[in-house]
């Protein structure tokens, strides 16, 4: 039977699937009180509304779902788009296109937690402040974490810098070392093109005390087709301690960054056609990187 709270645009198949997913999630979270206010009911309502956007507007395809096993992960992804909709799409993918379904707990910037309404809504739908102790708490409770090691810099790229990874921070890897939790590399293709022409008003952002202020030609994201690639999990070396030297950790972080970069280049070759005009610099970048890889 169709849930009355369902969106008008939700297919009967998805409706049944969501019922099944949330039945198992309610069992999993029975008796658990989340200190950030994660609200499974709100999560379900939001998913029902967003599934049509996920399926029909962004036409999301997920590859490599067989790489996900039934244990905790630190899911590390590239960050793109001026509004971090990539995070939302990854979370939906791990709920409906990955087995067993799970609510990824996305690490968000301090700025987000301060925002009225938005901070509360994101916390209720599973987001948490990007702080190592918070991560450790959730991993101890069997949760999987979604991190964007590029940080805010990942979503402050100008058009010419699309899909070029910013250097990864180390924090997520130290947490992985501390908890011996494997890293699951993920890459999102298509999110950069949601906002094709971008200017970053850095001075205005500083004046308004905002971490970033991207100005785009379109407020509503364009319907760029999205591909989410999930790579095989990256094991954490059992002998490397959480307090290992920066050099040792940086090497490992670079390995993760490089894995995601490889996935990105591969994914960009297989992307679906959309706004080919602005994709010229991206294509040049892909050709250059492919040649460089061949030369190596």
């Amino acid at each position: 039977m169709t849930n009355p709270a369902s969106s008008l645009f939700l297919s009967a198949e998805d409706d049944l699937k969501i019922n099944e997913i949330f039945r198992s999630l309610r069992e999993r979270y029975a008796g658990y009180q989340d200190p950030w206010g994660f609200n499974i009911e709100l999560c379900e309502r939001s998913l029902r509304r967003l599934i049509p956007v996920y399926r029909k507007y962004f036409k999301v395809r997920v590859f490599g779902e067989e790489n996900v096993k039934d244990h905790s992960y630190i899911v590390a992804s590239n960050h793109s788009g001026q509004i971090p909709l990539d995070g939302m799409l990854i979370i939906i993918a791990f709920l409906i296109d990955v087995a067993p379904p799970r609510v990824l707990r996305a690490m968000v910037d301090r700025f987000m937690a301060k925002l009225p309404f938005i901070g509360d809504y994101s916390a209720q739908t599973g987001a948490i402040l990007g702080e190592r102790r918070n991560c450790e708490f959730l991993i101890d409770h069997g949760e999987s974490i979604l991190v964007f090691p590029e940080g805010l810099k990942g979503i402050t790229k100008n058009t010419s810098e699309f899909y070029k990874l910013r250097p990864f921070s180390e924090g997520f890897y130290r947490t992985a070392l501390q908890k011996k939790t494997p890293i699951l590399p993920v890459c999102v293709i298509g999110a950069e093109e949601m906002y094709p022409f971008v200017f970053h008003a850095k001075s205005l952002a500083k004046f308004l005390r905002l971490p970033t202020l991207p100005l785009t030609a379109n407020l509503i994201p364009l319907p760029s087709p999205i591909d989410i690639y999930i790579g095989p999990e990256i094991e954490i070396p059992p002998t490397l301690e959480a307090e290992a030297s920066d050099k040792e950790v940086k090497e490992k972080v670079y390995e993760v960054e490089h894995t995601i970069k490889r996935m990105l280049i591969q994914g960009l070759k297989n992307r679906r056609p959309f706004l080919d005009l602005i994709r010229k610099p991206i294509s040049k970048y892909v050709i250059r990187e492919t040649k460089a890889k061949g030369a190596r």
Binding site: P35, W36, A113, G119, E131
Partner: protein, 318 residues
């Protein structure tokens, strides 16, 4: 058989101090308690073996008290409530809480007191948007960054902990940082907020709170005397609750209010001489949950009797 003890209570006119003193005397009828307070104590109900005196502990006669008695333990529960920001009260708070604490600790050191128990507060951590869950005792004390009027609260805690480590080989000192203590005998800002006829209920934020019932807190203060070794301890139960839910449990009518406007609204109220402590607004926006891991190591998992919902239910008796 346990040695007969003589205990000094600073801040005896407070509901929690009186409750703890009663508890100690009911468990140990032959012990003796001297209680002092700068507030009026004339209407304090007489209790056997409890001598109550009115005096400022930043003045000379306070030293005479130590000379006249050989105290085994000192409970410092005399910090003035930080619920008001009025300038004259602020000056008094700094005088009593900071200078007074200095004096108390100095006297304890000089007169050979064996155990000192100091009641601080979790407010020293501050309610900030980037607080991790759960704050441990080694977290930085950031309350006065955003609310300078809380500097006496932070300073008192810092003076106490510095002194504690300096004298750790000679005096056993326990600094307690409890979460919101609530109950019918407590007059703090949170109890008044919850038990009022109406209260602001945040619509744009959903912070979580920890509450401990005054009776449980009195038990912990008593057990700190023998069970807790030198150190700083957060005091909170295992559970927590959102403010919206807490108001529902107490039965207080919550007026939905966007807390992003609360600062301006509070300034307006101030002109009408109605004041909501500024720091409380931050607590209605951001969670400040504390870890009870250290306390549980010494007092065990079942160190408190009332759950949050039970403690909130009991406020209705006010």
């Amino acid at each position: 058989m346990e040695k007969k003890k003589k205990i000094l209570f600073i801040g005896i006119a407070g509901g929690l101090a009186l409750m703890t003193a009663r508890l100690i005397l009911s468990e140990n009828p032959d012990w003796e308690i001297v209680g002092i307070d700068s507030r009026n104590i004339s209407d304090l109900y007489p209790i056997k073996n409890l001598t109550a005196l009115q005096m400022k502990y930043s003045r000379g006669n306070f030293e005479n008290l130590f000379r006249g008695h050989q105290f085994d333990a000192v409970y410092h529960l005399g910090r003035i409530s930080h619920a008001s920001n009025e300038q004259n009260i602020l000056a008094k708070r700094i005088d009593l809480s900071v200078m007074g604490t200095n004096r108390i600790l100095e006297m304890c050191e000089r007169s050979g007191v064996e155990k000192v128990i100091i009641l601080s507060t979790f407010h020293v951590y501050g309610a900030l948007s980037d607080n991790p869950i759960f704050l441990t005792e080694d977290a930085p004390l950031r309350a006065s960054i955003k609310n300078p009027e809380l500097r006496d609260v932070v300073e008192m805690d810092q003076i106490s902990t510095n002194w504690m480590w300096k004298n750790q080989n000679t005096i056993s000192t326990v600094v307690l940082r409890p979460c919101n203590i609530i109950g019918t005998k407590i007059q703090n800002a949170m109890t008044k907020f919850l038990a009022g006829p109406v209260a602001l209920s945040p619509v744009d934020y959903n912070p979580f709170f920890q509450f401990i019932h005054e009776f449980d807190m009195a038990q912990i203060l008593y057990r700190a005397l023998t069970k807790l070794p030198t150190g700083t301890y957060n005091v909170a139960g295992n559970d927590f609750i959102s403010m919206r839910e807490a108001l529902k449990v107490v039965g207080t009518t919550g007026i939905p209010f966007p807390m992003m406007l609360a600062g301006g609204f509070n300034r307006m109220l101030k002109k009408l001489s109605i004041e909501v402590p500024a720091y409380l607004i931050d607590y209605l926006k951001y969670s400040c949950l504390i870890s009870n891991h250290e306390l549980k190591k010494h007092l065990g998992d079942e160190f408190h009797r009332f759950s949050i919902k039970e403690a909130l239910d009991l406020i209705k008796l006010r």
